[in-house]
Point group: D2
Chain length 370, copies 4
């Protein structure tokens, strides 16, 4: 690898691809290489991503291995099902970062149940702050660094030096960050979790569907994938098992609300019976310890609640936790920018870690607010 890292982006005309480019354009060690797209190949990027001024004159190439080859890093921002084949043709020493779902799930059964196709295999998982109790998913069999007796406490440690990364789903990141400290500490029950999310529209991508029109979305809130059908559910369960849960059940409902970006995840769990008498401070301590050393995940001061605006454009997750004694539940609220910490920021952060760079390089914690 050169001093300067060359990065190609496949799927540069979509929202996720565009956001990766926005972040990479400000990354001090990166040189942006080939940009590829499908239907917009041949078009200058400025026509489809008019906000990326420094790259406006770049012409989109057709998505093919030929154009992606020869870079240090290849970011795949493609519909699910498309990344496996391309990755297979890229050399093993190229860092391939998949923003799609194909390589997130360890369980082929889960994959098939929720996606209906054959499982493409599992890659190291790009959520550095994921708490790990033992034998986490995402640990490549041959890649577990160091002595097997080492206590690996966060997914970050498993990302050093890897050359394949599966970036988490945006909703998954929000729910996992909210709940995992309580799970890992045994404070909350991992069964009967309930999460309801307020989601910005960019999470749905650029697909031309009637319910995604501005006329429909402005002034309205609408749920989708209700009743246990959302594809992010098995990934949440997988993460919380990694954090220490034996079994995980979760009711998960995303709702589209009139904002372009942002996820506000309200995720609740029952206090574990043995911790019913835990004080608020004792409960809070689990979240403090989980995130006190994390540069991108902030537990807000008690009583201050996250807003998505505060995370806009930043790789920040804001988290708050409270105990509802009457309901017997711990309530967590997590705010992220779905396209940054939820997608492209996670990709850049994981890339930094894999390549041995400071994980914060090219990323900001300052949101664009108001």
């Amino acid at each position: 690898m050169n001093m300067t890292i060359t990065v190609a982006v496949a799927g540069a005309s979509g929202y996720a691809g565009g956001e990766v480019l926005r972040l990479l354009a400000g990354h001090p060690e990166v040189e942006i290489g080939a940009l590829t797209a499908h239907s917009t190949a041949g078009t200058p990027l400025g026509e489809v991503q008019p906000h990326l001024r420094s790259l406006a004159d770049r012409v989109l190439l057709p998505t093919s291995v030929e154009h992606l080859r020869g870079h240090d890093v290849v970011v795949l921002a493609l519909p699910h099902g498309a990344s496996g084949e391309i990755a297979a043709q890229l050399p093993d020493d190229v860092l391939v970062i998949d923003l799609g779902a194909d390589h997130r799930l360890a369980s082929a059964a889960d994959w098939t149940a929720f996606y209906g196709s054959e499982h493409a295999g599992t890659w190291p998982y790009g959520l550095p702050e994921l708490l790990l109790e033992s034998n986490p998913h995402g640990a490549p069999a041959e890649g577990r660094p160091g002595d097997p007796d080492t206590v690996v406490t966060r997914q970050r440690e498993l990302l050093a030096g890897v050359r394949r990364i599966a970036v988490p789903g945006c909703n998954v990141t929000a729910v996992t960050l909210g709940l995992q400290p309580g799970i890992a500490a045994g404070l909350i029950e991992p069964t009967d979790l309930v999460a309801v999310l307020a989601n910005g529209y960019s999470g749905a991508g650029k697909a031309l569907k009637p319910h995604l029109l501005a006329s429909e979305g402005l002034g309205s809130a609408q749920p989708y994938a209700v009743g246990g059908t959302h594809r992010h559910i098995p990934e949440i369960r997988q993460n919380l098992r990694a954090a220490g849960a034996q079994d995980v059940t979760i009711s998960f409902t995303p709702t589209l609300v009139p904002m372009a970006r942002g996820i506000l995840a309200t995720a609740t769990a029952r206090l574990a019976p043995e911790h019913r008498d835990a004080t608020d401070a004792q409960v809070r301590l689990a979240w403090e310890q989980a995130y006190e050393a994390e540069p991108f995940v902030h537990l807000l001061p008690a009583g201050q609640w996250p807003t998505t605006a505060a995370t806009l454009g930043a790789n920040t997750a804001l988290v708050q936790v409270a105990v509802d004694r009457a309901a017997g539940r711990v309530v967590t609220v997590t705010a992220i920018d779905n396209l940054v910490k939820g997608t492209a920021g996670a990709a850049v952060q994981s890339m930094n870690i894999a390549l041995g760079l400071p994980q914060t390089l090219g990323l900001t914690t300052e949101g664009v607010a108001p």
Copy 2:
């Protein structure tokens, strides 16, 4: 009472008062009488409610019993704590409708715990669709109509002829309508309920608070009153007990999202153990039976989910229910316009019932969409 019903509105400069006036202006049997306000007294209504063109030249009077007296109906759209004193000075045969919280709760202990003041007493409760198993709250001791053996099945029956009505809280209406059919049918457990709501800003009123500024709200989602502190909680519990629950515990989290109006309530409950094997159709049947005769509450066809836009300006509640087998939970989603079915529409509907008019008079089921 004349053929034409005269209605005075106290608090006509606020959002709730304005919405009552919007509906009354289209009510065929109503003549709008005195309009009173506090800080804007002396101002033409058109300056503070520029959307109410037919009333633009009406001058706001100071809120006092003197101005409110002499009408058939008085609607109180006042801050909580203010309505009791005024109502006490109005004759018993005047229909007084309180949009505030003062007379909703049957339990003085609940009132004091959540509002911190002395309880003002309980009035008949203006949610006509509330299912009643037995001995419901809101039944004035002397006013239970007919034979005590009569099976009263809905709150509507208790509103005929009353002269005091406490209009429900907007969040309460959404959550109650979503969950009560499953509670009444014994299909879901009334404990460990979880409700998360997406709320439009008008629910917070016209108070000048920083977090209610457009700059803060646009493009952001923010929770409030998290962790069991919201004042609507005891009212939800009371309603679901009326519908048949022995005890009710609920985790309740409202979140402000960027829309002026609307509530989308996602409320979930565990399937009762004895009904784990109920088919989707069997579960759905409880909701169908609860609402099939209701003009304002619509169970959508299976698979179609409510949106708040579809209820804008209408007295409609849209409800959907699904069973998440993996999570063991029934998920309900309810959409209302917080100012109509959530406040002013409920007032007009209850007024119609109390006065022996068709309950739908002056109300529409057609939302203003998109």
Copy 3:
């Protein structure tokens, strides 16, 4: 015609068609007949227009003369180019109301220049408040009521008894209502007009185009049809000529802003040289006189400016005018709901007039705000 007027709506699945249905559902003299659509034919209306609860079970028929025939009124909410053929096959005594552009323009040359196809002919124009100086367009040769010497002062008079109506374009209505009093009074120059509009997305219809996605529209303002290309320009010019201008030139720029509905039109004109010394009150008088008798067009008190929210769902136009002495221009601001006074409300109002009903029947002046 029966006591009850039967109305069929072609194009019932679109935004304009849906809004006509919303208004007709509350019209006391109307019975809604056949509803037709193109790609959604065979679907219950509730699936495509979930806000129209009272019509939810109506099944959409294919758009054909066969289904539209046999009603007193047929409303055509179709893409331009489609209405002429259908109207030609409907009996002359059926009132046909075209929401599209086909029959608005008197000049075949204008039509061809802006639409590129053959002109379909001119129908009486459905803007009752249009001021007429003499020999207005839209007057059917045979239909001019009464004595030819009668001074016809408003388009309303030309609509009585007609059986074909061309409903104005929404932007046209806003700009015309703002400027015409000054034109008719000779106070402002009809050349070098400048209009810039803030437009809600529903004006663009349900077409699935990338720039109409919620992700693109939320948090953004974007112009379209800049530089004299918008098809509403010849119609504005035609209206202002009817109001008395010899020649009209106008720079017209619509901009999409993040709201579902509404048009806020800022339209400015130079003070006519001979009126440079007119006082503010003298200028204002022209607007007062134009609209003092109009039930749906309101000149606000001096200093109060229109907002689109105040017109939501109502057939109201709010107008304000001010003189900018330093700039030498009169500035008018007009707010309407593009789907009501801008489209469907104008249709119903014109229908009422054509059929001899009170023009306000089934229409409201009360907006749904906030």
Copy 4:
């Protein structure tokens, strides 16, 4: 000056102050010093600016010269009228950057006419891209660099080494950038300009006023300061005179639309009579030449129109121009983020220039979109 530049910010709790901090937090040569505020003094910044994570623990100090002294740069984000006194007490070698209006206008008469108080004097003007024909305002008498015969072509050249900077008004920047190329080239008449703007709410600041509530703004468009009363008008006139106009008259109307940030300015001007026959390309050339070397002002390819979303968080201005032959007007549309290129970005860019740093340091051209 040290290698690291220390910067204090007065008014750190407001929107403008917060945005300066967001940019400075990412500036490689800056160390953020004292943060001061008025009513929130004593509070950690994280409570009032929760999006500025890296500064969350900084405690706001009271705004006083004592706390501001001792820094290389002091940024004043204060209400107008407050900066003069503070600046007078800061040493001459401290770079003082005023985000407020106090020192923008060269004409004391203009100041008094629009602000009603005594003029505080004129500082070098922080719009580096302002075209200068001759003897521009903002040139400090003693500070004109080099030979008096030098042709100074842009305001940038007058900012090198200065120690006082008046940052332009946000609306002024948008309108000036749109129109000045045509003015400087003599292609358009500087009289009878018309500008209408779509404005995000953050431009109105954090003041608690009813019309700035989210309930009022969501779903609505509303004009303000109509009819020649807006305080930005004399500043626009001053700029266009600097660019070469003899006299300037402009009709200027801002309208609040439902977005937190952004200005979309549609500014039109009559083609100068002697250039009526100029081709589109000839007109366009003036804009190309004005901005081809500018890193932050982009003339979009012909036919592509600016959107505010594309500038969010970036120091970018997007400009487009078209000729409307029928109207005889050139139409320009300019999009900026009011808080970045409109305020804080302009401050940082000007600071860089004044201090001899690359002007782009700490600023991005990549907007946060969608």
